[in-house]
Symmetry: C2
DNA sequence: CTATTTCAAGATCGATCGGTCCATATATTT
DNA sequence: AAATATATGGACCGATCGATCTTGAAATAG
């Protein structure tokens, strides 16, 4: 039997800010400006922390960035899991998934871009921690889309000759490319039509 | 009748370096490192110019970057024009075009990424000169691909229901997305198979 | 020759970078 | 009350940023 650990309360003044909220605010700054173009004062302003508090809580700019990136990835994967929920129709899930990209790619959202894509282009190949995260994310995303295509195929909803895993790779590349092109041409109607045209090539 | 202009030779020591070669060397640095992460010493080392010469010739870092970006764009469009040459079969052209992306997306080439995509993500929305160039490039690229699809359709080589202009938009997004995913997973065989699978959905 | 221009090399500039440190106030424990 | 821990705000650090300027040699013209 394990004796319940004596809950030793810490002595001093407790932390008075929400760490996760600070990470989220920092995430938004990195998202809008990119890693190199984000300066410490930007982060201090966004998190409303003093230099001392920020460094005590997160170590340094790079560590805070990784925390922000992890949060961004977690949000994206969670969203995908609801969009591609296995309890609903796989084709509906794929449509919802693509509709989400159209939405995030329109107007100001589109011009803001995608933290993952921006990070991949800015830091991948020069930062092993970033490499791992980006690579794993794309793999996870591809796996989820492939699973949806796989269920669609089992339900006889795919066009002849469509292979779920390669269709998933196509879709992943396509949506990431949407994010790139959307930086300068974030027109919702065209994005939606393009998405529909692509899905039409796969769906029976 | 116009009298031939008296060719007044300049007095001093003539320029002893090739401006365009310097732009190309600078382009390679921006390409490998990105705009913000490229420091003046990087450019001086690559161009083998002194600070004074570089500033006299190009004005400042930003202007030199635009020159480099223009060169990158010119190279890309010229290459497309030969790949999609209207004198050869449009489907062959599209295959050549995609094969080029597979090549540039493999191994070290892939890890280096694409200056246009990186610039779009890093600077678009915060630099009007960059915005214009990126937007025009994507438009020009899409137009060329659409023209190839259009010729393929006229030759009866497209699958039923494929519309050239939306197929072109799909392809452009796809190849730019390839560049993103290729930053961490530049595997030639998978890229080639994915490209083939996509084209199969369009070609009869 | 002199005048002119460009070259490389580097000193120098103010601004800003990421990061550390300190003084002081505050909030919580024992 | 005493001890402990965290908060803020700002001073401060060395390094580096992009950019300017100086110096003296080299290459061309008249």
């Amino acid at each position: 039997m394990r004796r319940p650990a004596p809950v030793q309360l810490p002595r001093g003044r407790p932390r008075s800010f929400d760490t996760e909220a600070a990470v989220e605010r920092a995430m938004n700054v990195f998202w809008s400006r990119g890693y190199h173009a984000t300066a410490l004062p930007d982060l201090l302003r966004a998190t409303k922390l003093s230099r001392g508090s920020l460094y005590a809580a997160f170590g340094d700019k790079h560590s805070l960035f990784l925390r922000a990136l992890d949060r961004y990835i977690a949000i994206a994967l969670t969203r995908m899991d609801t969009e591609l929920d296995h309890r609903s129709e796989p084709v509906d899930g794929l449509r919802a998934y693509l509709a989400g990209y159209v939405e995030r790619n329109s107007g100001a959202n589109g011009r803001r871009g995608c933290l993952l894509v921006a990070t991949a282009m800015e830091l991948a190949g020069r930062d092993v921690e970033v490499d791992r995260r980006i690579g794993n994310f794309f793999k996870a995303m591809e796996a989820r889309v492939a699973e949806a295509f796989s269920r669609a195929k089992a339900a006889g909803q795919l066009a002849d000759g469509v292979e779920p895993s390669s269709a998933a790779r196509i879709l992943v590349c396509f949506v990431e490319g949407l994010r790139v092109v959307g930086k300068t041409a974030p027109t919702r109607i065209i994005s939606q039509a393009t998405v529909d045209a692509l899905l039409d090539r796969f769906i029976r």
